[in-house]
């Protein structure tokens, strides 16, 4: 009987410890992201994975998770610099933004950026090719989280 209880308790203990450490890791990672002048596609994948599933793991696992929900972009590596257009396209896919007829027809990063600007998610000045900094990435995801009804 005691051995049975131990078998039940051990996995519970293991999962609660791993959940605790992951939470802490998420905040540590966000603090590190605050100091990055250039965010990468890998950072965007990680933060969208946190937003959609509440946790993140490796780039490959997070990417396949985002692919299933249609948020991931094709043809970018983990270390690729993140542009406003890339972030806007991921955001528009996640929030299922209509935005403009042009975005609905072409679905390009350029029109995704315009759509995000019209929804007040990003500033409209600048270009879709501008590089996104770490704090800017966090700022946009903060708004996304609020729109999605972040608790």
């Amino acid at each position: 009987m005691k051995l049975k209880q131990l078998f039940i308790l051990l996995p519970v203990l293991f999962f609660s410890i791993s959940a605790y450490s992951q939470d802490v890791n998420q905040l540590e990672w966000l603090s590190d992201l605050d100091s990055k002048s250039r965010a990468t596609y890998g950072d965007a994948v990680k933060i969208f994975a946190m937003q959609t599933s509440g946790r993140s793991s490796s780039f490959r696992t997070d990417s396949s998770l985002l692919e299933k929900s249609g948020i991931a972009l094709d043809g970018y590596s983990e270390s690729e610099e993140l542009s406003k257009g890339m972030l806007a396209k991921m955001t528009a896919r996640y929030l299922d933004l209509g935005g403009s007829i042009m975005y609905m027809i072409f679905g390009t990063e350029r029109y995704a950026f315009r759509a995000c600007a019209s929804y007040g998610l990003m500033r409209g000045d600048g270009s879709e090719n501008d590089v996104v900094s770490g704090p800017e990435l966090v700022e946009v995801l903060g708004r996304v989280s609020e729109i999605k009804g972040g608790r």
Partner: protein
């Protein structure tokens, strides 16, 4: 005997005149919400007491609510936000200062006529002073500092000391590297189907604006700092009444 009396008197004065640190309590925490303890993050739990100057951070899809003093001033911390809280209080005063490093908070500051309240939220580019009951504040490098959904009155002051009073549907937006905030009526104008003019504009002034195409009366974005100084003083006026 004298030194003992002096010690008791000093202790009494220190206890009752110098503001003591207020009790910062966690009312609610969901998802990933933690406070900084030395070099590590410690998860928040309901009912937990936090030290003065505490740094609190929330993750994606997470939030927390803190009570920052005994008269129920609360701060709701939205997802992906980082703040630092300083709060002091005595029987007749409360002094709360929140540093918003990034993200979005809602501050609820119920009025208590018996307590003199100072409640400030600072970002790297501006500071808001709550004079009413509730406000939403956000800060990020893209959009700068925004104050909106204000119940009652909030004063917003940028780093150059230029101030605005926000109430109702007015929205304060101070972007990085700009000397003054955007027009505080922009948002209301953008949402309205008809033209929106500033408060107290007469019919003649509206006509002049329609003719010239611009606001000749001074925009609502103008610095209201000078008014603030006058609001604190008594004024006397002479009235001459002519009965018909």
């Amino acid at each position: 005997m004298k030194p003992l009396a002096m010690t008791i008197l000093s202790a009494f004065l220190v206890c009752y005149t110098v503001p003591a640190f207020a009790e910062i309590t966690v009312l609610k925490a969901t998802g990933t919400a933690a406070y900084r303890d030395g070099k590590k993050w410690v998860p928040l739990k309901t009912g937990m007491k936090l030290p003065e100057g505490v740094k609190v951070s929330t993750g994606a899809n997470s939030s927390a609510e803190l009570r920052v003093n005994s008269i129920n001033h609360t701060v709701t911390i939205k997802p992906l936000t980082m703040i630092q809280v300083f709060s002091k209080e005595t029987k007749s005063t409360t002094d709360t200062h929140i540093g918003l490093k990034r993200g979005n908070i809602t501050a609820k500051v119920p009025r208590d006529a018996r307590v003199k309240t100072v409640f400030k939220v600072s970002t790297p580019i501006a500071t808001s002073s709550v004079r009413g009951t509730e406000e939403d504040i956000s800060y990020g490098p893209g959009s700068g500092m925004m104050i909106y959904d204000v119940r009652s009155l909030v004063e917003a002051k940028n780093r150059l000391g230029r101030s605005n009073f926000i109430s109702g549907r007015l929205k304060y937006v101070q972007q990085l590297n700009l000397p003054k905030s955007l027009n505080i009526a922009n948002d209301a104008r953008g949402r309205s189907l008809v033209a929106v003019y500033g408060n107290g504009v007469t019919g003649d002034e509206v006509e002049a604006m329609l003719y010239s195409g611009g606001d000749q009366t001074g925009g609502p974005e103008s610095d209201a700092g000078i008014l603030d100084n006058q609001m604190q003083q008594d004024a006397s006026i002479n009235l001459k009444i002519n009965w018909p």
